[in-house]
């Protein structure tokens, strides 16, 4: 197609913009009001509106839900530069995300790297179209920060693995169609060398899930239980007992994702100073509380520095320096920034920032209270801040074990 053949970036921008203007429904160019507006796809997909369904169908058909994947696997085959242009045009038109997908964000990149041709063809195109919804089976009750000590067993029986064990903190496990899952295939080997990466259909007999309630209230997190679940051996990704390398590669994508989400949240949310002006008032043009004002300025600067560092890293990647362990820095810093921001909002709002329910509090106030409590998990999920510091110390600074 003409749109994808042009190697001229500005030509691509113009063609992309024209396509988006023609294909993005008007209602999809308004800001999402809440998490209820998110589209996660899947076999039992729930769409908040017909426009949301149409938007996903069109974006999926175009390959724009997974822009850099090759076209034969459901992507649009874009270069990193073109994908950035697409992203910029989506932002400038105010388009909502057509699809939120752990399959696209996390599984896809490692399947492209480690998957067999049959696995790629079977899983990538429906994932890109939003027909398969994935969850991530990593953490276990006794394997949190020490992920590699996971105990969920997979024993080969003929042409299938029999899986027994439990996962925890599995986002959307109750709604997902499939799970990418870490299992122990060699209990005798050193802990990093006996792990395999398995794709499990959540409809398989023996799989059950249970939601987890957090300090912020309802949550996407679940426990997932496996009781004699048979998983075809062809659904093992990479080498048998070579799953740790796949797991780590995926975690880098996850960290990059989490840090990008925090960065985007900063861009879209109301600024701290704007909230503070409403609650604290001003004296001679300066916020009435000088201590909070100083902390707001500091948080704002730190957020600016974080965005600039993300930009520098992306520019470095485009000029040939792939991001490596520095994603740990973004995960660490992005989540810590988000916690600080939400704590500041609660402090600025005073007692109105700690309301649970009732007409005393506005919807925004109640939302910020929940977001504040939820943010405490940001620096734990996807590898705690302490784990990120360990990674930076070892892999970037080369400090001894």
């Amino acid at each position: 197609m003409e749109l994808l053949s042009g190697d001229d970036l500005e030509g691509f921008r113009a063609a992309t913009r024209a396509w988006l203007e023609a294909n993005c429904p008007a209602a999809m160019r308004t800001p999402a009001r809440s998490a209820d507006d998110d589209v996660w796809g899947g076999r039992a997909a729930v769409f908040p509106s017909d426009d949301a369904r149409v938007w996903l169908e069109r974006m999926g058909a175009r390959g724009f839900t997974a822009p850099t994947w090759p076209r034969e696997y459901g992507g649009a085959g874009l270069t990193a530069e073109q994908a950035r242009v697409l992203d910029e045009e989506l932002r400038s038109l105010g388009c909502r995300a057509a699809l939120k997908s752990f399959g696209v964000w996390m599984l896809g990149p490692v399947l492209l790297q480690y998957g067999t041709e049959a696995q790629k063809l079977a899983f990538l195109p429906p994932t890109a179209r939003g027909e398969l919804r994935w969850c991530q089976g990593y953490s276990e009750p006794a394997a949190g920060s020490d992920l590699a000590s996971l105990q969920t067993r997979a024993v080969l029986d003929g042409d299938a693995y029999v899986v027994d064990g439990q996962k925890v903190w599995t986002s959307h496990a109750d709604k997902a169609d499939w799970m990418f899952c870490l299992v122990r295939t060699d209990p005798a080997a050193p802990k990093h060398e006996g792990i395999s990466f398995l794709l499990i259909d959540m409809r398989s007999p023996g799989v059950s899930t249970r939601p987890i309630r957090l300090i912020s209230g309802a949550s996407p997190f679940c426990e997932a239980f496996f009781d004699g679940v048979r998983v075809p051996a062809a659904q093992l990704v990479g080498r048998v007992n070579g799953g740790w390398a796949v797991a780590k590669a995926l975690l880098e994508h996850e960290r990059a994702l989490i840090s990008r989400m925090r960065d985007a949240a900063f861009g879209e949310d109301e600024s701290l100073e704007s909230i503070a002006k409403r609650y604290l008032g001003t004296v001679d043009g300066a916020l009435a509380d000088p201590v909070l004002r100083d902390r707001i300025a500091q948080a704002s600067m730190d957020s600016l520095c974080n965005s600039l560092t993300l930009r520098r890293s992306a520019e470095g990647a485009r000029s040939g320096r792939p991001p490596g362990a520095e994603t740990s820095m973004f995960k660490l810093y992005g989540t810590e920034l988000n916690k600080r921001r939400l704590e500041l909002i609660v402090e600025i709002e005073g007692f109105r920032g700690v309301g649970v329910e009732g007409s005393e509090f506005s919807a925004d106030e109640l939302a910020s209270t929940r977001a504040w409590l939820r943010s405490r998990a940001n620096s734990i999920e996807g590898g705690s801040s302490e784990i990120q510091l360990n990674i930076i110390a070892r892999r970037v600074l080369g400090l001894p074990e």
């Binding site: 300025a297 600067m301 974080n306 600039l308 560092t309 820095m329 930076i392 600074l397 001894p400």
Partner: protein, 379 residues
């Protein structure tokens, strides 16, 4: 503009690093300090740096400059920061030279800037009064007299003021102290009647001075721009100065950090390398993040100067606040992680710690810059 260095900029880094490491390692600063050098920098080294194009880097070719930008000068300052190399770059090139370049007449530029670019003239901006930096707090008075102005007042913390060939003095023509309006900038050559300059030795062993102006008469042709409209020029050079000092501080922080990480990999206690202790590892990893974040804001601020971007003032405040916090933290941690040897004069780490504190106060510390940042953003 991209935050990744171009090939030409990488060449400038290589040139600057090679020169600074060879001619101005930390032993150079020690020699100046221990010899109680009157200037606090070496005119010979400055002349050589000027020969490499550093003094004229940001000035146009018409006045003898090289016509490059602050992105390039920032690289040189960062390398100077790594060895604590004392040079008059900030005082002469960025502050006073910048003021003459931005606000001066052709005749004033022609009189002073070629000498600056050649490394033959050193200038200083006499602005601060009192103990802490405040951008428009100017009590020094400039009263009109026949054919010029008579200036009376006192200036402090004048970088490289001692030994400068001329001072650019901020003095009030109208208004009350702290008013932005009514500030003028005046070129006062060394040796002018009524001018006294005394060096005030600081812990970083560089050159700072107290300047007294006791009825110094400045003829009209030495006034920079409109006599009561100096704040526009002053604001711009103070932003530039804050960013330049930030670039130097980035280099200092990076060097102190790298030396500390190297020490963690060689020092043994309890039979193991101390870098294996998580109590130190995590703090080292946090410092790494702080340095990387500071690098980004410094690069963005330098580029905003070259692009004449509208956000240069905001980025200047953010860069100075951020690198100040980073350098103070890294230098303090560097001492702590080196243990006892860290507080000896023999080890260089203490020199970085002392420079961090003086640089922090130069042109406004972190708290000052956060206040300015908030005000620029309308809160």
């Amino acid at each position: 503009m991209s935050l990744v260095l171009t090939e030409d900029q990488e060449s400038i880094r290589k040139m600057a690093r090679e020169f600074v490491q060879r001619r101005m390692p930390t032993t150079h600063l020690r020699a100046l300090r221990d010899g109680a050098d009157a200037l606090g920098y070496s005119p010979a080294c400055w002349s050589e740096l000027a020969g490499l194009g550093v003094a004229g880097m940001t000035f146009p070719e018409a006045v003898g400059g090289v016509g490059l930008g602050f992105a390039e000068l920032g690289i040189v300052l960062e390398e100077c920061g790594r060895t604590l190399a004392p040079t008059p770059i900030v005082s002469t090139v960025v502050l006073a030279g910048g003021a003459i370049s931005l606000g001066g007449t052709d005749a004033q530029r022609a009189r002073w800037l070629p000498g600056v670019c050649a490394g033959e003239r050193v200038l200083a901006l006499a602005h601060d009064e009192g103990t802490r930096h405040a951008r428009h707090r100017v009590a020094t008075r400039a009263e009109p007299v026949a054919g010029g102005f008579r200036i009376t007042g006192e200036k402090s913390f004048v970088l490289d003021g001692h030994g400068a060939d001329a001072l650019v003095v901020a003095a009030r023509v109208a208004g009350a102290s702290a008013d932005r309006a009514g500030i003028g900038l005046f070129i006062v050559p060394a040796g002018s009647p009524g001018l006294t300059v005394a060096r005030t030795p600081l812990v970083d062993s560089r050159n700072a001075a107290r300047v007294r102006l006791d009825g110094v008469v400045v003829p009209d042709d030495q006034v920079l721009g409109a006599p009561d409209g100096g704040a526009a020029v002053l604001d711009r050079v103070l932003d530039r100065g804050a960013i330049a000092v930030s670039a130097e501080m980035l280099g200092g922080a990076l060097e102190a950090f790298e030396r500390t990480v190297a020490y963690l990999k060689t020092r043994r206690q309890f039979g193991v390398l101390i870098g294996s202790f998580q109590a130190l590892k995590h703090r080292a990893a946090q410092m790494f993040c702080e340095v990387e974040l500071s690098r980004s804001i410094v690069l963005a601020a330098l580029r905003a100067l070259d692009d004449d971007g509208p956000d240069a003032a905001l980025l200047a405040a953010a860069a100075k606040a951020r690198t100040t916090d980073t350098f103070l933290r890294v230098a303090g941690e560097a001492i702590q992680m080196h243990g006892g040897i860290g507080v000896t004069d023999e080890l260089d780490i203490g020199l970085f710690y002392k420079r961090a504190r003086v640089a922090a106060m130069t042109l406004g510390d972190a708290a000052y810059q956060r206040d300015r940042y908030a005000r620029l953003q309308g809160y």
